[in-house]
Structure formats: structure tokens, C-alpha cells
């Protein structure tokens, strides 16, 4: 039983935390792909930017002495950071993507433009914050929650941190809100219509400009949320999301580009796959070692820990080969 709890703490808790970050990021990527038809590479840097905005706001709050009991200040400032990132995302669209779109540029050009935006944002972040790491928990503590299991002979407790719980709550709220927006509101239905068939949507009187704006609003705010959650879970550094933008694309592609629900499923799939692949499975085998025909080695991970991010890429490549449009059918460019 102790071993099972160890498994739960490492794989399930870690996977849920990582999965919710990936899912929230991948929704943004997939929405932009569905509406604007290009792979938005700068999404990872929009996440980093959001996280740094939240970090600055948190410092400001601490300087002003604003705090709420039981809630890390990082989560307190999250809504403001989301609004600010959204404004910047709209500005990025107006400054960089809208002129190209007007010219009728191909998706490939848009992709290259988004790499330019990536470099600009990353350059600016590094210019102001250097290349070191920051933590949201310098002056406050990251609370560890331990839940004892009421069973005989169980010594381990189920462990997770407070930010992880809040992260899952935030993800659930965001996903539900998005679900109701897409299925119930007029604008959400217009978005889905435009993702399905842009020409038909325009002909039937949908204001495509508004839809594009709403897409950036959702994508920007979700990017800020994902970035801040990632920074709260690990650390804040300038190349934070650059490394994570590929797993996010993997999640979006696994779920089928353009499919919001697919992106959520893909995010959790990649998150669990990463934590499960580096888990030392011999821990689970040890209690039944007597019954096994072979000797249980000391470490039995599917891949060594340093290959954790590689798992996402391997899944990505396999999915692209096996079912290029994703597990759920994706939009085509």
C-alpha cells in the first residue's frame, strides 16, 4: 500500500499538475489554430510574459502589504495578470499578425512571424530580468498538504502542495467557463462556426474581426494562467515556457489541432505520460518480487529522468505518424 501511495504522489499528483498546465496552454494554441489557421509559436513566450507580469504584480502587492490568508499572492494577482497579458496579446496581433493577414499571407509566413514575436518577447524578458531564476515563494512558504491514509500498516501520506490544488481548481474553472462560452453563448457558437468553415461563417454574417479578437482574449488570458501556474509549480525563468511550448504543441496535436476538448485530453495525456515514463516502476514490483520469475532491478524507469521532455516529443512523432490529425479529428490548414 505504501508503494501505491508513492506511485500516487509521484505519477498521479505530478501528472495532474503538469497536465493541467499543458491543457490550459494547449487550449490557446488549438483555438488560435482553429480560428487563424496557423501554429502560434509565440504562445510559450506569451506564457512566460504572463508569469513575469504576475511576478511583478506579486512584488507590488507585497510592497503594498496586500495579502489574503491561505492564498499565495501569485494566485491573488492572477486575474490582473491575465487582463494585462490579454491586452498585450491584442497588441501583438494588431502589430504583427493583422498586417500579414490583411496581405493574405500563407500560414507558413504567419508561423515564421510568430517565431519573430517569440524572439522579440524573449529578448525583452531577458533584457529586463537577466537569465537567472526567480521564485514566487521567496517571502511566503509553499504549503505542503499531507493526508494520512486510514489503513493499517500505511506510513506514507498522500502529499501535494497548495499551489497544485489551486492549479487544478483554476483549470477546472477555466475549462468549464470555456465550455459554456463555446456551447451556450452566441459569440462562442460563432467561433466554432468560424473554426469549421471560415468562408461560410463570414457569408452568414458573423463578424470575423470580433471572433479573432475574442480568440486572442481567450488565448492571452489562458496563456497568462498557464504560465503563472507553471512558475508557481516550479520556478520562474526567462526560458521557462520555451522548453514547454513543444510539449504544448504535442498536446494540441495529440488532441487534434482546432479541437478544444482534444487539447485538454492531450494535455493530461502528455502530462501523465511524462511522469509515468520517469517513474521508478521497480518500487511497485518490489512487494511482489517473490512471485516474479526475474530479479527486480534497483531502478526500472521507462526512460532516465533527463529524457523527461523527450517523452512528449516521442508521443508527438508517434501520433503524427499513426494519426496525423490527432486522436480526435483535427482541422486542416
Amino acid at each position: 500500500m505504501n508503494e501505491l501511495i508513492f506511485f500516487f504522489n509521484n505519477v498521479i499528483v505530478g501528472g495532474v499538475a503538469l497536465g493541467s498546465i499543458y491543457a490550459v496552454g494547449a487550449i490557446g494554441v488549438t483555438l488560435i489554430f482553429g480560428i487563424l489557421r496557423f501554429a502560434h509559436f509565440a504562445h510559450g513566450d506569451m506564457m512566460t510574459m504572463g508569469a513575469f507580469i504576475a511576478f511583478l504584480l506579486m512584488l507590488a502587492c507585497q510592497a503594498l502589504g496586500i495579502s489574503v490568508p491561505f492564498l499565495p499572492t501569485g494566485f491573488l494577482v492572477l486575474p490582473v495578470a491575465m487582463v494585462l497579458t490579454t491586452i498585450i496579446a491584442l497588441g501583438l496581433d494588431k502589430g504583427f499578425y493583422a498586417p500579414l493577414r490583411k496581405r493574405g499571407a500563407k500560414p507558413v509566413t504567419m508561423l515564421i512571424a510568430s517565431i519573430g514575436v517569440t524572439l522579440i518577447i524573449q529578448g525583452l524578458i531577458r533584457l529586463f530580468f537577466g537569465s537567472g531564476t526567480w521564485s514566487f515563494f521567496e517571502s511566503e512558504t509553499k504549503q505542503l498538504i499531507r493526508i494520512p491514509v486510514p489503513l493499517e500498516g500505511v506510513t506514507r501520506t498522500i502529499n501535494f502542495t497548495q499551489p497544485q490544488v489551486l492549479m487544478v481548481v483554476c483549470t477546472a474553472v477555466a475549462v468549464l467557463a470555456l465550455h459554456f462560452f463555446l456551447t451556450r453563448s452566441r459569440l462562442g457558437k460563432a467561433m466554432r462556426a468560424m473554426a469549421d468553415n471560415p468562408d461560410l461563417a463570414q457569408v452568414s454574417g458573423i463578424n470575423t474581426k470580433v471572433v479573432v479578437r475574442v480568440t486572442w482574449i481567450i488565448a492571452g488570458s489562458l496563456a497568462a494562467m498557464a504560465g503563472t501556474m507553471l512558475a508557481l509549480d516550479v520556478q520562474l525563468k526567462p526560458d521557462l515556457a520555451f522548453n514547454i511550448v513543444l510539449p504544448i504543441f504535442a498536446a494540441a496535436i495529440v488532441g487534434g489541432l482546432g479541437q478544444s476538448y482534444g487539447a485538454i485530453a492531450g494535455g493530461f495525456l502528455i502530462g501523465f505520460a511524462e511522469t509515468a515514463a520517469i517513474f521508478n516502476w521497480s518500487v511497485l514490483l518490489r512487494p511482489i518480487a517473490g512471485a516474479l520469475p526475474f530479479e527486480v532491478p534497483a531502478t526500472l524507469a521507462i526512460v532516465p529522468t533527463e529524457y523527461k521532455l523527450t517523452v512528449a516529443f516521442v508521443i508527438l512523432v508517434v501520433v503524427l505518424l499513426w494519426r496525423p490529425t490527432g486522436i480526435f479529428k483535427g482541422a486542416s490548414s
Binding site: F38, G116, I120, A250
Partner: protein, 429 residues
Amino acid sequence: MIARRSLTLFAGLFVLFCVIGWALGAANISLLLVQSFAYALIALGLNIQWGYGGLFNFGIMGMLMLGGAATTFISTPIIPGFWGSEGPLLLGRALLAFAFGFLLVWGARKADRVGIRGGWKTALTIVAWAAAYIIYRSQIDVAAAYIEATPDGWIGGLGLHPVLGWLFGGVLAAGAAYIVGKICLGLRTDYLAIATIGISEIIRALLKNMDWLTRGTLTVSPIPWPTPLPQEFQASGTPITDSFIYARLGFLGLVLIVLIVAFFLVQRAYGGPWGRMMRAIRDNYVAAASMGKNITSRQLEVFILGSVLMGIGGAMLVSFGQIYDPGSFQPINHTFLIWVMVIVGGAGNNWGAVFGAMLIYITWMISDPVSQWLFNGISNWSTDLGWGAIPEIQSRASQMRVFVLGVVITIALRYAPRGLIPEVVKREA
């Protein structure tokens, strides 16, 4: 008109290099020249893939790393301790395990010949992959642990001439490109871009963590030069600053020969029937397919050819730098930089690719000292105003390169989407 424009641009580039050479000194400009010519070769490779064939390769970094690893393996001295130990035997067993695993997977994929079809075949293939992976890991882990425990900690090189290493870099990159192309070339543009980035990250993770092969983060150094080193000139009595210039000029000559040969061949290929066919496939692959061209195998061809140039270029850069550090390879420096070179220079035009490579490389290299100078100025000014100085100017200035690169590509896409020296589309009257 294009010819006049490109002459003017190249003349401007020459003047720019002269000015920078005058400002930085001959030793520094010879260093920049060698590197920018090596990047020009890599940009030619991307120009074949993207400019000729329309392939969206974002995995350049992986090819450069493979080239570097190849030249490291071929040209660094032999370690007798390794060859005398059990290491080669263990590695041989790992290789056998790999071959066995390959046969297993290959057999499972051909299972329909013996009547296993549909879901059963899929299941068999998955089991074969898992078995092959387990068999390979069971051998390679032992070998890697054994080799990493030896005093040297890695297998060393073969001690051959570095130019052979460059050739091997091209061969290795071609092999990798064949596999990558087989996997990815059926995909559409965006998917292809993401898949190639993913594969180059996998290559990076492997080379970074296979300490027995590349020493990983411990880095391999020094890697021998194909031409005499500055130290050899110093030994024969040349002053230190002059020795660097002579040695780098020697290296520069070799790089230039490779670049000119490659350029000549690539330019000939563009004008020939093969180049016409590639452009036909790029511009309208449906029409090209209906004319009986085998799109997939042509694209594989162009992907491999481009990757060979990238592999050779990567090998040259590593030889020249004398250090192989898998950790120093970054997508920004080794993939996006080259894309910016080709886009700014002009995709589809080899003169444009070479021009873009040299212009962007020099911009990339000098934006660091220029922004340092700029920041120092601002810092003095703000100190005078009483706002205090800018902290850590040195580390901040080196980050400006990324920003400048982003601005350059944005401006290029906006105002010169076809590049500074665009492709000349010939039309028969």
C-alpha cells in the same frame, strides 16, 4: 535589375565587413569570416530544402549537432585505454541488440505476409517495439555504465584527419535526414515544422546525455584543426597576434573551397532539369504529381541533400571552435538564426542565402558590443540625471541579440517578404 541590386548589396556587405574589421582588428574579423562562411554553407542547405523544395525544416539544430558529433568522433585522438578494455565488446553487443531489435520490429511490420492482419498486426508491432527497446536498453545501459566508469569516461575518437570528420558529418546527417524524412515528409507544413523541431530536440537530448559517446556536459576539447593551429605558427617564431590571423586564414581558405564547390553544384542543380522539377513540386505538387513525378521521393532527396550541407557546416563550426559542447546548442542560435538568414537573404536564390547568412551573422555578432556601448551611454546619462546606473550591463547586452533577431525577421516579413535578393522567376516569352 536584380543583378544590379545584388551587386550593390554585396558591395555594401563588403564595406560593412571592412568597417567592422577595421574596428575589431584582423584577428577578430577573420574569426567572424570563417564562422559566417560556415553559416553560409548551412544556409545553402536550408535554401535547398525551403527555397527549392518548399520543405519546412525546423530541425537544423539536430543536423548541426550530428555533424559536430561526427567530426568529434573522427578527429579526436584515440584513447588506447578504451580499446584495450571490455568497452568495445560491450558496445558491439549493444549494436547486435539494436540490430536484433530492428529485425524484430521489421518482422512485425511485415507480419501481414504470414496472415496476421489488422488489430493483431498493430498489437504485434507494439509488442515488438517494446521488446526491441527492452533488449537494446538491457545491453546499452551496461555498456554505457562500464565506459563511463573507465578513467577517460568516453570512447574517444579515431584520430583521423578532420576533413574526413566533415565528410562523415555529412554522411551522418544524410542518414538522419533519411529517417526523419521517411517519418515526417508526408505531413503538411505546420505539422512538419513541429515534428522536425521535436526530432531535433530528441537528437539534442540523446547527444547531451550519452556521456560515453560525446562526454555530454563535460564537453570534448580540444578538437584538432585540419589546417595548422596558431600554436604551430607561434612555435616557428611568428608573433602571437599574427599567428591567429595566419591560422584562421588557412582555415578560412578550406571553408571557402567547400563553400564554393557546394555553391557551384547547388547553383547548377537549380538551373538544371532537377531544379525545375523541384520548383514545380514546390509551387504545385498536385500538378507535378499528375505529370508523373514521385513527390515523396523527390522531397526526400532534397531533404537529404540540404541536410548533408547542414551536417558539413555543423562539423566545420565545431572543428573551428575546437570544442564540442552539446549543451551549447540552442534552437535560437542554430535553427531560427538560419531561418532568418534565408528569409532575409531571399529564399530560392543562392546568392540571397549566402548574402543573408553573412549579413545576419555579422548583425547577430555585433549587436552584443553595439548594445553594450549603447547601454553604457544610457547608463552614464541616467547616472547624470540621478536615476542610477543600469545594473549588469554585460549580461543584458548579450541578450539583445535575440531581440534584434526578432525585430529583423519581423521587418523583413513585413517589407521584403521575398528577401533582399529574391528568387528570379524566369518566364518563357
